[in-house]
Every structure is written in structure tokens, then in C-alpha cells.
């Protein structure tokens, strides 16, 4: 197990290295000039050159990248161009909010999606099944800002059950988590439905019935654990999808997470922040995958560590 973890972490390091390079190249090729953003419209050529030199942006690409990497391995993500503070501090201040939202959203999507999927599969082709699948289709296809505004309108503005926006308490969390989880719920209900139907057609379900087990036991003890196996791997990948959704949802609900930080940074070509947020996001995706694989290891006895 230790050897396996070590190998996966080394793999992760290489993945992050690759991502940092790709992101850096993209930012370098971007026609927008961060120095002009910092200096403002009225700055003289001299000031601009000064700032450029200060930030090391006058150096050739490989040298810039090398500098960035060297400080990165020491845990230094650099300083924001605009906000003039450490990127690691900026991210650390906002990461907990995003992680909280993400965990809540994953919880919401799994509870909604898996329940819908299981119900659909055991009521296959019924009216319940069909309406749930229509709902899941809406979930998959509705843009998140629409869902977000809809939930805000109904549950915050009209009914007043939840606050309109902000951060701090559990009731602040509910609507953003639901919005973020709604799309995933659509996905998971479809995946879980087909996974369940597949499992319910297998020989060991027939064995369970032939043993005289009750319906509930067959579904929850035999079918669901097997149906979950392919889903678990999906959850790891899902974190990546969340990372893009989080930018929109944080904006709609005024949620002080790294999504907002990234959004502002992109507008101002604040390269250190963009790099930092990208790497943190990539890191959480890689870790999410690793976590999913480890969970699968415990759920499925057939998987051997490779």
C-alpha cells in the first residue's frame, strides 16, 4: 500500500509539472500584457519597462518558467501582480470556502443522483422512471447560472427559506451546493440507472432471489454495492468538472472561494494567481482520483494494487 501510494504521488508530481508547463505556455502566448494592466493606461514606456524587468517578464520564456518552477518546488507560488500579496495566502484564505462548497455539492449530487438512479432502475419503464429521467436530462442540460438564478428566485426571493447570497452558515451553503450538484445529479442518476440495470440482470442477483432473500436486501445488499463500482471512478473525475462549475456558481451566489479569485485574476492577467489556482485545482483533481481509486480498492475485493 505504501509503495502504491508513493508511486501514485510521484505520478501526480509529473502530472502537475506537465499542467504547469502547458498553463505557463498558454499564458505566455496570450496577447494580453499583464504589465499594461498593472501600469495603467497613462504609464510611460520607461515605467512599463521597469515593471517588466521587476517581474522578470523581459526574460526569455524558458528562464521565466525555470524561475517559477524553482520557487514552486520551495512552496512559493509567487506574489500577485495586482494585489501585491502572496498567492499562497490568497488561495489559503479562499480555499476552505471552495472545498466546503465542493464537498457539499458532491454530497448533494450523490444523494439526489444515486437515489433517482436506484428508483428508476427498480421501477424501470414506469411513469416514475420516465419523469425522473426527464428531470435528469434537465439537470444535465440546464446551464448552472440559470439553475442558480432559478433556485435563488424561488427559495430565496419568493419563499425566503435561504439567504440570497453570502457565506458563513449552513443555510448559505444549501442553494449553491444544490446548484452545483444538480448537473452531477443528472449524470449520476443516468449512470446509476444503467449500472443498476446491468447488475440486476446478472447471475448472482438470480442466485440471491433463488436463496429466498427479500427485495430490499437484494437491492441494497447485492445490487447497489456492485452498481456503485463504476460510479466511484467517475466521482474522482468529477472534481475536474466541479472546478469549472465552481467559477460560475461562486459568482452567482457571491461565494468567496477560489473560483472568484480565478475569475478576477483572468480579467487582469494576474499570472501568478492564475497559475496558483490552476495548480491547486489540478492537485485536487489528481488527489480526488487517487482517493476514488483507494475507495474502490476497499469496495471491490477483486482489485489488486498495481
Amino acid at each position: 500500500m505504501a509503495a502504491y501510494l508513493f508511486r501514485r504521488i510521484v505520478e501526480a508530481a509529473f502530472i502537475l509539472l506537465g499542467i504547469s508547463l502547458v498553463t505557463y505556455v498558454l499564458l505566455y502566448l496570450l496577447p494580453a500584457d499583464p504589465v499594461r494592466q498593472i501600469a495603467g493606461r497613462s504609464a510611460t514606456q520607461e515605467t512599463i519597462a521597469n515593471i517588466r524587468q521587476q517581474l522578470g517578464l523581459d526574460l526569455p520564456f524558458y528562464e521565466q518558467y525555470w524561475r517559477y518552477l524553482s520557487s514552486l518546488v520551495q512552496g512559493d507560488l509567487g506574489r500577485s501582480y495586482i494585489q501585491r500579496s502572496e498567492v499562497s495566502e490568497l488561495i489559503a484564505a479562499r480555499l476552505p470556502a471552495s472545498l466546503l462548497l465542493m464537498v457539499a455539492a458532491i454530497f448533494a449530487e450523490l444523494v439526489m443522483g444515486l437515489t433517482m438512479g436506484v428508483v428508476s432502475s427498480i421501477r424501470r419503464n414506469s411513469a416514475t422512471d420516465q419523469s425522473l429521467m426527464v428531470l435528469s436530462f434537465v439537470g444535465v442540460s440546464a446551464p448552472q447560472f440559470v439553475v442558480g438564478f432559478l433556485l435563488l428566485y424561488v427559495f430565496a426571493a419568493q419563499l425566503g427559506w435561504f439567504p440570497i447570497g453570502g457565506y458563513g452558515t449552513f443555510s448559505h451553503l444549501v442553494l449553491p451546493a444544490m446548484t452545483l450538484g444538480f448537473m452531477g445529479a443528472g449524470w449520476y442518476s443516468r449512470m446509476m440507472r444503467s449500472s443498476m440495470l446491468n447488475v440486476l440482470g446478472q447471475d448472482f442477483i438470480r442466485t440471491a432471489r433463488a436463496k429466498g432473500l427479500g427485495k430490499a436486501r437484494i437491492i441494497f445488499r447485492h445490487a447497489v454495492p456492485n452498481a456503485l463500482l463504476p460510479i466511484i471512478a467517475m466521482i474522482g473525475i468529477d472534481i475536474g468538472i466541479f472546478m469549472s462549475g465552481i467559477v460560475v456558481v461562486e459568482a452567482v451566489f457571491g461565494w468567496p472561494g477560489i473560483g472568484q479569485l480565478a475569475w478576477q485574476a483572468i480579467q487582469r492577467v494576474d499570472i501568478p494567481i492564475i497559475m496558483g489556482v490552476t495548480l491547486v485545482a489540478a492537485f485536487s483533481i489528481v488527489m480526488g482520483n487517487l482517493l476514488a481509486d483507494i475507495v474502490a480498492l476497499f469496495v471491490d475485493p477483486r482489485i489488486k494494487l498495481k
Binding site: Q202, R206, K211, G212, L229, R302
Partner: protein, 596 residues
């Protein structure tokens, strides 16, 4: 059967099925799949329900158990268990019957157990459902059940998962689970079909013991007339959803009444069918040039693991096998699963890496790139086991048969069509069917298509890897006849890979018996079958069910062990058994006094 015995029968019948009719919903309305089926099963009796695929034998058992798929339903009839009609029970009541009064085991022990639950947990839940036992009491009972089916190391099995057990052990678990509810009736649906023949013999013996010890009535569903002859007290023969004949086993085999039963019994390959018949062995003739020469063929696969994915274990699939295949002969490679017989077939067409030497038509193929292998492949073609999986469902059968000709640039346009039509005629298919897709054909027809495809390049050698194993016996017989005809016409050589000794006896000139990657015996068919030298060959032949109840063996002592594994540690050096010459090209891997 007289009226008196009929009545006596009814009285002690534990299961009485009367006029059972089941239908299935299709897009063209409902279709009857079993029609007016009636039979009785008495306590302590084994009733075999025999028939080919689609005869309705499995549907009958599922109808009794109330386990039909949602699209099917029992239309009429009665299923009386000790006088109570099961068809009137609701689902909750049926739960107590299933696994309680009637237990069932299935064909595929590999997939019939839940892969993510331990064996113990699966046994315990069956026990909990019918005895209300929990905790250590249930575990004790589970252990007893495993001991009752003579499971080795039963205590350790409780915490193991199904994938850690062999097929035979899994079927023992299934039987233990079925017996844990003390059923009056055990329905066994092809319980040994997926198992090796020596394991099959063990499981059948076990079922007989259980019948004797517990008085369980057994309804055994099988397509294998050998199993019927070994096991049955009475037999019900089904065809097309109806019972065509019902007789005591001796009478059925001695004087089958129905024409279908007669045909079925005729088609069954019988071990010993060629007894006393000498074969003209090509191998024995001087100056014959072998078409395939294999020398010291070794195939090993590494199993990787650990931090750097270095090899940690090694599969010794084939170890230093040498053999020759002569023009116009059929050499059978027999052995149980994992013995390496299919691996040899794959090596011959360079589908896997191997070491040693293989010459085809005198040309060494070791290390040949696929470009240089291409012309040699024309001479050596494969026909696989599963004719359903071996044909691309999106191509027409004409395209499938013609594809090799296109790949090898041998024909196109009108000539291609003509040659494909000729191939269709040669394997007994109507060329007018060329534009159809594989799903429109039966299993036997599909296997003919596969053979036509293999023949398209005019090969000298055909590797038939379990090519008739998936077919019903009547179809199997036809395909074997076709192979014989083609050999006579075209002078083909067959490497006939099979686990079925009766089929092998019927078709082969020479036989090579494999065990753990090595040939333990090789020789002319008559010598190997009538005078087997190696203990493994003897065991293999002894385990084959004989399709003749008059020759039923009740006092057999069966080895209980499992076939050892070919997976070994990296430093393992296999000991290569030396073959002793028994004369007349008959060799076996045993030391013989006086032999050189």
C-alpha cells in the same frame, strides 16, 4: 407406466408439475415457450430434464421457482409442492419456498456468486433468511454447510471472496448455500457444464451423496446425455418447449420411443465409439514431412506488480512442447482449462510471444514480423469456440467470408463473389444467404461461416480451438462431419483443441494430452484411448460421463484435489517430464522399466 404405479408415483411425488404453460411477451404478441409440461419428482429421486438449447428446460425450472424474467409469465398449470400449488403464492410467500423448500444451483459458478461479498456472508444470509439464525450460530451453520459439500479448508473459505476460489469450489459453495435451507427439492440447471471434466465428476458424485444422505429430490437440467446416463433415475426429454418423452433412464437409453430422442442419442459422441478401430497414423509412416514442426515451444507470461511494475510471478503456460502435425491428419490437443492447449494454437500464428522453434511448411516463424508472417498465415487458419463472438455483427456474412481474400489481395469484384459463393456451397450453406448478417443464423450455421472464412485462403492447417464445444450435440455432429469431409477433399491438417474426450475420439488420428503446460502423453488415438499410460490420461478418461446407464460406475474413487496452478515464483525452474517411447509413436511422460 401402468395406472397403479402412476398413482403410487403421485402419492410420493414431492414436486408435481401439471400442464405448465409459460409464455413470453414479444413484439409480435405473446409466444408460448413451454407448452403443457407435466412431470413428477419423488423424494430421493433424480429426474433429469434433457434437451438442447431452446428446448425450454431452463424456463421450466424458472417457472417452478417463480424466477421468470419480467417479460415471461406462467399462463396456466399447477406446480404442486407437497400438494400446495406454488403458483397461487404471493411474492412474500414464495421467498420462503425459494432456498427453503426448493433450492437451485446454476450453470455458471463464476458469475452466480456476488463478487464483492465474502463466501461466508453469502452463506450466512441464506441461513438467516430460512433459519432466523444470526451471528456465530449462523457462521457455525455456514461452516457445517461447507463441510457437508467437502470443501477443503472450509474455515478459510468463509472469509474469501468468490474470485479467490476455483470454478469447482464455487459450485461447491453454491451447493452448500442451496443445502443450507434443508430443501426438499434441489433444482440444478446445468451445474457442471462450465466445469472441467474431472471437477464435473467430483460435483456429480457429491450430488449423489447428498441425495443419498439427505433424501433430497434432484431435478437435474442438462444437455449432456452422458451426465443423464450417470445421474438420472428417470428422464424427461424436452424439445421445442414440450416434453417428447418421459422414461426410466435404462429404458430411455435402451428403447427410446420418440424419434427426437432417438436422433439425440445417436448424435451423442460416445467415449469408446471407436474402440478396436485402428488408425492409420501419418506419424508412423517413414519419410513423411510434417507440415507443422514444433520444437521446445515455451510460453511464459510475467505477472507484474510492486512499485516499479517489475515481474513478481510467472505463468508457465507451455513448457518445452515438441510435436509434429502431418498433412491430412487430425491431431487433438486435450486437457483441462489452463493446461496450455489454446496457448499452443495462438503461438502457431504468432499471436503471442514464445520461444523455441515452430516451422510451418518447413519455414521457421520465430521472430517473423507481421509482414513476413502474412504469407504464412494463408496456410494456417483459426476457427474459434464461440461463433457468436467470432463474427462482426455489422458485416454481412458474405463480406466476412470474403474479407481474408481482400486482405491478401487474392480476389476482387465478380471473382470475389464467385469464390465466396463456392466457399458457402463447400460448407453446406446456400450462397443466396451471403447478404445476411450473422444474427440471422443459428449457432451451427455461424460455425459453418467461420469455417468458410478459414477455408477462404486455401490453408493447409486449421487450428480448431474448441470449435464444436458451444454447439448442441446434433449440430456438433454435423459440423464434425463437415470437418471430416473437408479433410478428405482438401487434405487439410487439423490441430483440434478440445476438452471433450468423446469428440476427440471421434475425430482425431493422434492425441496429445496436456497437463500444466506439458505434453504428458501423445500417440495414435486407439493407443491413447484404449491403453493410456499416463495416470493423468487415465484420470481424464475415467472422469468422462458415459452415455450409457448400463455402464454406470457407482464405486469410483475420485481424486478430490484441484488442478495445480501454472503460476509460480520467478526463480521456479519447471522440471520437464521426459517422454518414454511405448512403441508405435506412442509416448508418455512416465518412467518405464526396460524402456530406453
Amino acid at each position: 407406466m401402468s395406472a397403479e404405479t402412476d398413482q403410487a408415483m403421485n402419492q410420493r411425488a414431492i414436486l408435481d408439475v401439471r400442464n405448465l404453460t409459460t409464455e413470453v411477451a414479444t413484439s409480435e404478441g405473446s409466444k408460448t415457450i413451454i407448452d403443457n409440461v407435466s412431470f413428477q419428482l419423488a423424494q430421493g429421486e433424480t429426474l433429469c430434464v434433457a434437451g438442447e438449447s431452446g428446448s425450454g428446460k431452463s424456463v421450466t425450472s424458472l417457472s417452478i421457482m417463480g424466477l421468470l424474467p419480467p417479460s415471461a409469465r406462467v399462463k396456466s398449470g399447477e406446480v404442486l409442492l407437497a400438494g400446495h400449488n406454488l403458483l397461487t403464492l404471493n411474492d412474500r410467500q414464495m421467498q420462503d419456498v425459494r432456498g427453503g423448500d426448493i433450492a437451485m444451483i446454476f450453470q455458471e459458478p463464476m458469475t452466480s456468486l456476488n463478487p464483492v461479498m465474502t463466501v461466508g456472508a453469502q452463506l450466512v444470509e441464506a441461513i438467516a433468511a430460512h433459519h432466523g439464525l444470526r451471528g456465530s450460530a449462523a457462521r457455525t451453520k455456514a461452516l457445517e454447510a461447507l463441510d457437508a459439500v467437502r470443501m477443503s479448508e472450509s474455515k478459510r473459505r468463509l472469509v474469501q471472496y468468490p474470485h479467490e476460489l476455483s470454478g469447482g469450489m464455487r459450485q461447491r459453495v453454491m451447493i452448500a448455500m442451496a443445502l443450507s435451507g434443508n430443501p426438499k427439492v434441489l433444482i440444478a440447471d446445468e451445474p457442471t457444464t462450465a466445469l472441467d471434466v474431472t471437477v464435473q465428476a467430483q460435483i456429480l458424485a457429491l450430488m449423489n451423496d447428498l441425495k443419498r444422505d439427505f433424501g433430497t429430490a434432484i431435478m437435474l437440467i442438462t444437455h449432456d446425455m452422458g451426465v443423464v446416463a450417470e445421474m438420472a433415475d428417470r428422464v424427461v426429454v424436452m424439445n421445442g418447449g414440450s416434453i417428447v418423452e418421459s422414461q426410466a433412464v435404462m429404458n430411455l437409453f435402451a428403447t427410446p420411443q420418440d424419434s427426437y430422442t432417438q436422433k439425440l442419442l445417436e448424435a451423442v459422441p460416445q467415449l469408446g465409439s471407436k474402440q478396436g478401430e485402428k488408425v492409420e497414423s501419418e506419424a508412423g509412416k517413414p519419410d513423411r514431412q510434417a507440415i507443422v514442426e514444433i520444437r521446445d515451444l515455451t510460453v511464459r507470461f510475467d505477472i507484474h506488480g510492486g512499485l516499479l511494475q517489475r515481474p513478481v510471478k510467472r505463468v508457465h503456460a507451455v513448457e518445452q512442447v515438441s510435436l509434429d502435425l502431418f498433412p491430412g491428419e487430425t491431431l487433438a490437443l486435450v486437457g483441462e482449462s489452463g493446461c496450455g492447449k489454446s496457448t499452443i494454437g495462438k503461438s502457431l500464428v504468432n499471436l503471442i510471444p514464445w520461444t523455441g522453434s515452430i516451422k510451418i511448411g518447413g519455414q521457421e516463424i520465430a521472430g517473423l514480423s507481421s509482414v513476413h508472417m502474412q504469407p504464412i498465415r494463408r496456410n494456417i487458419q483459426l476457427v474459434f469456440q464461440d461463433p457468436y463472438a467470432a463474427l462482426n455483427p455489422r458485416m454481412t456474412v458474405g463480406e466476412l467470408v470474403g474479407e481474408p481474400l481482400i486482405i491478401h489481395r487474392l480476389a476482387q469484384g465478380g471473382e470475389l463473389t464467385d469464390r465466396v459463393a463456392e466457399l458457402f456451397r463447400r460448407v453446406g450453406l446456400d450462397p443466396a444467404m451471403m447478404d445476411r448478417h450473422p444474427h440471422e443464423f443459428s449457432g451451427g450455421q455461424r460455425q459453418r461461416i467461420c469455417i468458410a472464412r478459414a477455408l477462404s485462403l486455401g490453408p493447409k492447417v486449421i487450428i480448431a480451438d474448441e470449435s464444436v464445444s458451444a454447439l448442441d450435440v446434433s449440430v456438433q455432429a454435423q459440423v464434425l462431419d463437415l470437418l471430416d469431409e473437408l479433410q478428405a477433399e482438401l487434405g487439410l491438417s487439423y490441430l483440434f483443441i478440445s476438452h471433450d474426450m468423446a469428440v476427440v475420439e471421434q475425430i482425431s488420428h493422434r492425441v496429445a494430452v496436456m497437463f500444466l503446460g506439458q505434453i504428458v502423453e501423445i500417440g495414435p488415438r486407439d493407443r491413447v484411448f484404449e491403453n493410456p499410460q499416463h495416470p493423468y490420461t487415465q484420470r481424464l478418461l475415467d472422469a468422462v460421463p458415459i452415455a450409457d446407464p448400463a455402464r454406470r460406475r457407482t464405486d469410483r474413487v475420485l481424486p478430490t484435489g484441484e488442478v495445480p496452478s501454472p503460476i509460480q515464483s520467478l526463480d521456479y525452474v519447471p522440471s520437464i517430464a521426459r517422454l518414454t517411447d511405448f512403441g508405435g509413436t506412442h509416448f508418455a511422460a512416465i518412467e518405464q522399466e526396460g524402456a530406453d
